[in-house]
């Protein structure tokens, strides 16, 4: 009987995923057409979808795991958490980008369910980190709006970004980019991403000139070199791509983009020739089967899992995602594909596309350059990181050891992502109020 229930749940998850994608498209349209009724309708429909998906996931856990009471408490805590966030949004942030809040909550809920399924302790810790993260996400928009001097502090951001990277003193799981203070560990590079965007936005707040370009290039170069030295290749890639794209957008000179890509590719090529660990990743990507029990192990197990999921998935708790290495962080997507199926995964990617598109659309209404830059900066980082990690676990590109924002386990990643969303909504918060004034 249980088997049948879980078998049927696969279809429900897919339906919920589909509806969330569909309603995202509808909500986005309604928001920009300023159609109030439709906006309210789809916003609420999405809330329901999130609750249903979250509930179904936990019900399956209730009946298959043995720690019913613990799970129940966690479930109730999480439901209250979602309700509280929506309460705050309804009251204070109704004029921000509603779709982005919902998408972030949907995928965070997905992360809760999958992580709790994999390991209760991990699921619980992720929830506690989410409490901190979303608290930040909810107060930052107002801060961005009210505290104007924040936009002028580029020297501070410069010093902090480099400084933060020097905090690195630890290696965890082969990655040399951790900082451990006492029992507390975090990855500084996650926060440096934020500081870097703030720096660029602040630096170019009043316009572009050669001095500022040079300064920004120097900082970017320095950061990238430090990151490569710390073997954080994913981080180096993100910074490089972010910088090239930001400068291209600011100057609207295609040559920046292509030239930057060229230099970046050259750098990557040199990296490949010089560093063994880069070579190893590229080889594992090109043919994981040749070295399936060592270099290719991670990607091979990831593909086994994704393949085993087929279109409909094996069903939550029916797959074998614990055989996927690093499944809690980098390869969480593979676990989702295995148990919830690849139809669901395709819808998930669609939802992430909507996150990006909605963000870009809203950005095009921004008139303040600082807000404009932080907005595109955040959008690009999140989207590019999602591309890197999903591309890596599906063998589209070599794996780069970054996380799937909001879904992967990890306090630093989750909190940093929440801060970024807070900053993003801050830029939009400012925007909607401008519209209101115009109407007067």
């Amino acid at each position: 009987m249980l088997s049948i229930f879980i078998s049927v749940s696969r279809y429900i998850f897919i339906l919920l995923g589909f509806y969330f994608l569909y309603s995202s498209i509808m909500l986005n349209k309604a928001m920009f057409e300023e159609s109030h009724e439709k906006t309210v309708f789809y916003f609420n429909a999405q809330k329901l979808t999130v609750f249903l998906s979250h509930c179904l996931g936990f019900v399956i856990l209730f009946v298959t795991q043995s720690n019913f009471l613990d799970l129940l408490i966690l479930y109730v805590e999480e439901v209250l958490f979602f309700m509280l966030i929506w309460f705050v949004i309804d009251k204070i942030y109704y004029k921000t980008n509603l779709l982005i809040w919902n998408i972030v909550l949907f995928i965070t809920q997905l992360g809760f369910v999958i992580l709790t399924r994999l390991d209760f302790g991990v699921g619980k810790r992720q929830f506690y980190m989410a409490l901190i993260g979303f608290f930040a996400a909810l107060i930052i928009p107002i801060i961005i709006d009210k505290l104007n001097f924040v936009t002028k502090l580029y020297p501070l951001y410069l010093i902090l970004s480099v400084g933060f990277l020097f905090l690195v003193n630890d290696t965890i799981n082969g990655a040399k980019n951790w900082s451990t203070i006492g029992t507390f560990s975090f990855q500084p590079s996650e926060f440096v991403k934020i500081l870097f965007i703030l720096f660029i936005a602040s630096l170019f707040r009043t316009g572009i000139n050669k001095f500022r370009l040079l300064l920004s290039a120097l900082l970017c170069g320095t950061l990238v070199i430090i990151l490569v030295y710390q073997t954080d290749l994913g981080g180096a890639l993100i910074f490089t791509f972010l910088y090239i794209t930001l400068i291209y957008i600011l100057t609207a000179r295609p040559i920046i983009f292509f030239g930057g890509l060229g230099i970046g590719s050259l750098g990557a090529f040199i990296g490949y020739k010089l560093f063994a660990h880069v070579k190893v990743r590229v080889e594992a990507w090109a043919n994981p089967w040749a070295d399936i029990d060592k270099n290719g192990y991670q990607i091979a197990q990831s593909l086994f899992a994704i393949g085993a999921g087929g279109w409909l998935g094996s069903g939550l708790t029916k797959g074998m995602p614990s055989y996927i290495p690093v499944v809690l962080t980098d390869f969480i997507f593979s676990a989702i594909s295995e148990e919830l199926g690849n139809v669901f995964s395709v819808f998930l990617i669609g939802i992430l596309i909507m996150l990006f598109l909605s963000s870009i659309k809203m950005t095009s209404y921004i008139e303040d350059r600082f807000m404009f830059i932080i907005s595109i900066g955040v959008s690009i980082i999140i989207a590019f990181q999602q591309f890197l990690i999903i591309g890596g676990v599906t063998k589209l590109i070599p794996s780069t050891g970054v996380t799937l924002p909001f879904i992967s386990y990890g306090g630093t990643s989750l909190i940093a992502s929440c801060i970024m969303i807070g900053i993003l909504q801050g830029a939009f918060y400012n925007l909607r109020k401008v519209h209101q004034e115009d109407e007067k």
């Binding site: 088997s3 316009g207 594909s337 990617i349 990006f356």
Partner: protein, 471 residues
């Protein structure tokens, strides 16, 4: 100042749109890549030995059966109080072609593994199995093999080392595939150490597909074909005195028999070495090499399980004596029984080679057809007018030549014998041929290692096999 700012922002916004499209492309690539992977690659990964899910899958599915073309069970899984046992009712007879699945996987057990561990029974049956906590029955593999033919072939060549392989020329269906020495797959785990260490006999080797032997006089088929191509008006004439010297190398006919006056047909039927060595002198060796290559020497065979590639190394730099021995099937040339069967199959089918295959179709345990394999043409390798001539010659072999022991009253047989000299003992005995010669239904290749005379061993085996199959 403000206007200037807004202007440049406007430009930036336009650039932003372009970046937007880049990301749409990137995300689309993710989706396309994922879908492509699921559609094309995912299935093959299930049976990878590093996939921990394989074991789980095998626990919930009862491995399917392997059947011959008439429904005889060649391999089946018997469930006994929760334990599964793989049983091979025909024991040794199919040991190489079916293979085994308890000690690693070989043969069809390996090739069709993916089908055998999938269950396509209907929803109700699946539900029933879920509720009663029993294994779902895997799909069955129905082969093109003919059990009675295979059993007969296995009996006939028992006691020797060698191989027998039979193909249906018009379709490419493999009718039987026997390799000796063989083993009992039911006892594979028990006898593993003994079998794997038996270097003298190599019982685990599938000689039919992976054994390589000098073709001996069966190669004269190719030599004759090349002669016909180069000499459209065939007026070959030769007087055989039993032996002749070619640049220092003495070529004998079998037992140094003098065959007397011969044309090409009688030289072929007599398998006259001196006549063919003489033919070899006049041939364009480059063209002979091309012909051999077209007939799949030195090339991959269109066969989907393991096999060895044949080799033909004669070229225009070869010496006269090398040419002399190669055109009669000695020298460095090596060929597998599978390849030899494909060559005569081609002749039997008007020069068109059909791709050999063993699986006819896959069906679920309640008879629903999951996948059907149909005959596929490989290529037209020989022009039909030549195959007519060659068939004519091969009929003569059995009527009046070295293959008379194969002659049957019931139908005409076309064939070619061969005695392949080799450094390990007596000559290997070859017979390749097909029947009925006018409308072929079966093509055979037989090789009996170190048996000496083909006429005494391989030829009578062929006759019995043809009669068993064609009655």
């Amino acid at each position: 100042m403000k206007d200037k700012k807004n202007d440049s922002l406007l430009i930036s916004k336009k650039a932003l749109q372009k970046v937007k499209y880049i990301f749409i492309v990137l995300f689309s690539l993710l989706i396309v890549n994922l879908i492509y992977f699921i559609v094309f690659s995912a299935d093959n990964l299930v049976v990878n030995t590093y996939n921990p899910r394989l074991e789980e899958l095998e626990k919930s599915i009862s491995r399917g059966e392997i059947l011959d073309s008439t429904g005889e069970i060649l391999a089946q899984t018997i469930e006994n109080e929760g334990k599964s046992e793989r049983v091979y009712p025909y024991e040794n007879a199919f040991s190489h072609v079916i293979g085994y699945s308890n000690q690693g996987k070989t043969g069809l057990e390996a090739y069709a593994d993916l089908f055998l561990i999938k269950s396509n029974v209907n929803v109700f049956k699946k539900l029933q199995c879920d509720i009663t906590n029993s294994k779902k029955p895997g799909d069955n593999v129905v082969t093109t093999l003919n059990a009675s033919l295979q059993v007969k072939a296995s009996e006939l060549i028992d006691g020797y080392k060698g191989a027998i392989i039979a193909i249906e020329p018009s379709t490419g269906k493999i009718l039987c595939m026997v390799s000796k020495p063989d083993f009992n797959p039911n006892d594979i785990t028990f006898n593993w150490d003994k079998l794997i260490n038996d270097d003298k006999n190599s019982p685990l080797l599938n000689r039919a597909t992976q054994g390589l032997y000098p073709p001996g006089s069966t190669f004269k088929i190719i030599t004759a074909l090349e002669y016909l191509k180069e000499n459209p008006t065939d007026n070959f004439n030769y007087t055989c005195t039993g032996k002749q010297t070619f640049d220092g190398k003495v070529i004998h006919c079998y037992d140094s028999t003098s065959h007397g006056d011969e044309d090409l047909k009688t030289a072929f039927a007599n398998s006259c070495n001196t006549a063919f060595a003489t033919i070899g002198e006049g041939l364009n060796i480059n063209d002979l090499n091309s012909l051999a290559t077209n007939l799949l020497y030195n090339k991959p065979l269109p066969y989907y399980m393991d096999y060895s590639t044949s080799s033909f190394t004669l070229n225009n730099k070869s010496t006269v004596s090398q040419i002399a021995e190669t055109v009669i099937g000695q020298g460095e040339t090596m060929v597998s029984p599978l390849h030899s069967a494909l060559i005569v199959s081609t002749i039997a089918n008007g020069g068109q080679l059909m791709k050999p295959y063993i699986i006819d179709h896959i069906e679920s345990s309640n008879g629903k057809i999951i996948k059907k394999y149909i005959p596929q043409v490989y290529d037209q390798l020989i022009e039909p007018e030549y195959t007519e001539t060659l068939t004519d010659y091969m009929i003569e072999v059995v009527k009046n030549g070295t293959g008379v022991k194969a002659a049957s009253e019931k139908f005409k047989i076309a064939g070619k014998t061969g005695s392949a000299e080799n450094p390990f003992g007596n000559a290997h005995a070859w017979f390749v041929g097909f029947a009925p010669a006018d409308k072929p239904e079966i093509a055979i290749a037989i090789v009996v290692e170190n048996a000496g005379s083909s006429g005494a061993t391989a030829v009578p085996m062929a006759k019995e096999l043809f009669e068993v199959y064609l009655q």
